[in-house]
């Protein structure tokens, strides 16, 4: 794949039109007015039938799972997993991400955490009943989801220093702890809360369990949005749990016997979000580059357009190199998806590391190229620059990506 197909271009143009008509007029409000992005996302989903598609896809998957479970109960071989029927083309998620990120990477963050991370956490380990109860409305954005692992004292070392706990109490569990930097935390309807099972054993040996919580449960407090550097269109908050009582029906998988103590489940989720970050980076880079080229042609200093200066040309050239590389990573990911091949953890981490750094570098250079205007919000690159920074921090910091790539290489 070296270019988008006609079909993908049709999709891109349609989404672009929608964004120009629906997002751009309320962009200021989303960035600076604490207007949450969910209604816009719901409109996007309804307009393009993404909600109906998600519901249909979910129904098919759950029916296949039920058939397999029933066969197993009868002692028969479960029916062979159907070959991917052409499957869902990853470009159908990548293209909206790229296009939205030209204006508002925050909206993508809110969307990705809700329908991506949160839904995936329940889908990958939950029971059939749990999936039916929570997943469809997350996939359609009818419900807002949050996925909570980070705590004030545990970030990169998410499991090692995790303090949140679940204690057994009869048939129930009692949950305690606080989480921070939680995307959608302030507005979430459905929250995946990750904690350690406290059986009086040393913290390092405790099992990692995940529970699904609903907004408004007694003992659950969701903070207001935190003030932050960028991604203002993505509400980020804290969660406080004091003696939240839940039944086993809210324990994901309804079992404490999770493989490798529960530490692997969350890691699957990590590698999923890393590829999405590359698409986000591509949107930021493409927009910064387009704006920069225009500006370099039109801004005149010393009697000529600044694009005539070699120092400005170097900036544009470097931006184009990054754009091509990140686009190629995205194209590769799409082709792999179409072929039903997944990324290794090292590949996903490498993709995220490179794309995040590229987006940051391009956005910073765009601000520089715009001079004083670059520092003013009217010219848009300053927002993309503030937003880009977090790509190097969330979904695993750059340093953690490097560690994962190297570990994977050295393990071979």
């Amino acid at each position: 794949m070296f270019d988008w197909t006609d079909e993908q271009k049709m999709l891109r143009d349609a989404v672009r039109q929608f964004i120009e008509k629906e997002l751009v007029p309320i962009h200021e409000e989303l960035e600076h007015g604490d207007t949450p992005p969910y209604d816009l996302l719901r409109k996007l989903f309804a307009t393009f039938g993404m909600d109906a598609m998600a519901r249909d896809g979910f129904k098919k998957r759950i029916e296949a799972e039920k058939a397999a479970a029933e066969a197993k109960a009868r002692g028969e071989e479960p029916p062979a997993k159907k070959e991917r029927e052409g499957g869902m083309d990853p470009s159908f998620t990548m293209i909206p991400i790229i296009e939205l990120c030209r204006y508002s990477p925050g909206i993508v963050t809110a969307m990705g955490v809700s329908m991506g991370l949160t839904a995936a956490a329940i889908s990958s380990r939950g029971t059939i009943a749990q999936k039916e109860r929570w997943v469809p409305e997350l996939l359609t954005m009818e419900k807002v989801g949050a996925w909570a692992i980070t705590e004030p004292n545990s970030g990169s070392d998410a499991f090692g220093s995790m303090k949140s706990t679940a204690r057994r109490d009869g048939d129930e569990y009692v949950l305690n702890g606080s989480k921070t930097f939680i995307t959608n935390g302030p507005y979430a309807d459905t929250i995946v809360f990750i904690c350690k099972l406290d059986e009086g054993n040393p913290p390092a040996e405790r099992k990692i369990l995940s529970f699904v919580l609903d907004r408004g449960m007694p003992g659950l407090e969701q903070s207001k949005p935190l003030r932050k550097m960028g991604m203002h269109s993505s509400p980020t908050g804290e969660l406080f749990l004091s003696d939240v009582r839940v039944g086993r029906d809210r324990l994901i998988g309804e079992t404490e016997d999770v493989p490798s103590g529960g530490r692997e489940g969350a890691k699957d989720t990590f590698s999923m979000e890393r590829s999405g970050v590359a698409a986000m980076a591509l949107g930021i880079i493409s927009q910064c580059l387009e704006l920069s080229v225009e500006y370099a042609k039109n801004r005149v200093q010393f009697g000529q357009p600044i694009g005539e200066f070699q120092l400005i040309q170097e900036k544009l050239a470097k931006m184009e190199v990054h754009r091509l590389n990140v686009q190629n990573l995205v194209f590769r990911y799409i082709e792999m998806g179409q072929a039903g091949v997944g990324l290794t953890l090292a590949e996903a981490s490498a993709m995220k590391l490179y794309s995040a750094r590229a987006a940051m570098e391009v956005a910073l250079e765009a601000v520089q190229l715009f001079g004083g205007n670059g520092y003013m919000s009217e010219f848009k690159v300053e927002q993309l620059c503030r937003d880009a920074k977090v790509l190097q921090i969330y979904a695993g910091t750059d340093e953690i990506q490097i560690t994962h790539i190297a570990k994977d290489l050295l393990r071979r």
Partner: protein, 260 residues
């Protein structure tokens, strides 16, 4: 309720257009897109079919080089199928020739209850094709529809006028031209985009339509483009200092134009 919508595929107005120096017509060899003014007819047709509780929307288009890009957009919006007339002999076809071709193509669509068109294309602007089609098909025609309703075997149209609108009716089948901007064309859904690729496009040439190539194209056209000139730059106006008699100069100026 089966509806035919005539749609034109035109060079993207966002790209700088160019004239072919030999034929002095717009170059159409690149990728063509759905004329925006036709997207209203497509939307109207889809809404009418929905309201009728079923039926198909079929597109009819004439375009060079077997072009389907614009058709795919309308198919992605929800049209079921399409007839495409493409034939090198059609190069240079004028408005009447276009109407002959489209009328013949519409006849290939079985059971059409209603034929919708735009009022005019965004690259040609003759605005005559809809009535010519109606005449050739021997069907009643209503122009400038701002709203359309079907009532049994009758189409009821609010026909836009300068002062407001007229209420008109015609028995079906009929040809109705739709004013731009009267409905909000839907975005193609993702599913629609995926499905559009495999929707049928019945491509035909003049022979298949039983049309003599000599009666269309440059040969059949009643027109010849002799020369194309750049529009003259607007001349600077006359500046009159008002020394108290300015009004007399205005009166004299208007009198000279014979407007008073």
């Amino acid at each position: 309720m089966n509806i035919v919508v005539c749609v034109k595929q035109i060079p993207d107005p966002a790209e700088p257009g160019a004239l072919d120096p030999n034929t002095k017509t717009l170059k159409r060899d690149g990728k063509l897109i759905l004329d925006e003014s036709d997207s209203y007819g497509v939307e109207m047709a889809l809404q009418l079919a929905d309201a009728a509780g079923g039926g198909e929307v079929t597109l009819v288009s004439m375009a060079p080089n077997s072009e389907t890009s614009g058709l795919r957009t309308a198919l992605a919006m929800g049209a079921a199928k399409s007839v495409l007339v493409s034939d090198p002999a059609l190069s240079g076809t004028d408005a009447l020739g276009t109407a002959k071709i489209l009328a013949a193509a519409i006849k290939r669509v079985e059971g059409a209850d209603l034929i919708l068109t735009a009022t005019e294309s965004s690259d040609g602007y003759t605005g005559t094709v809809p009535e010519q089609i109606a005449e050739l098909l021997g069907l009643p025609s209503i122009t400038f529809a701002k709203s359309i309703a079907i009532d049994g075997g009758t189409v009821k149209v609010q026909r836009q006028t300068e002062a407001g609108y007229d209420e008109c009716e015609a028995p079906l089948p009929a040809v109705v031209s739709v004013t731009a901007g009267v409905v909000e064309p839907r975005y193609p859904s993702f599913k629609g985009i995926m499905a559009a690729k495999s929707k049928p496009v019945d491509e035909v040439d003049c022979a298949a339509l039983g049309i003599d190539p000599g009666s269309v194209g440059w040969a059949g056209g009643g027109q010849e483009i002799v020369t194309v000139e750049a529009a003259p730059a607007r001349e600077a106006g006359e500046v009159v200092e008002d020394d108290g008699t300015g009004f007399e100069k205005i009166v004299a100026f208007l009198d000279n134009l014979k407007v008073i």
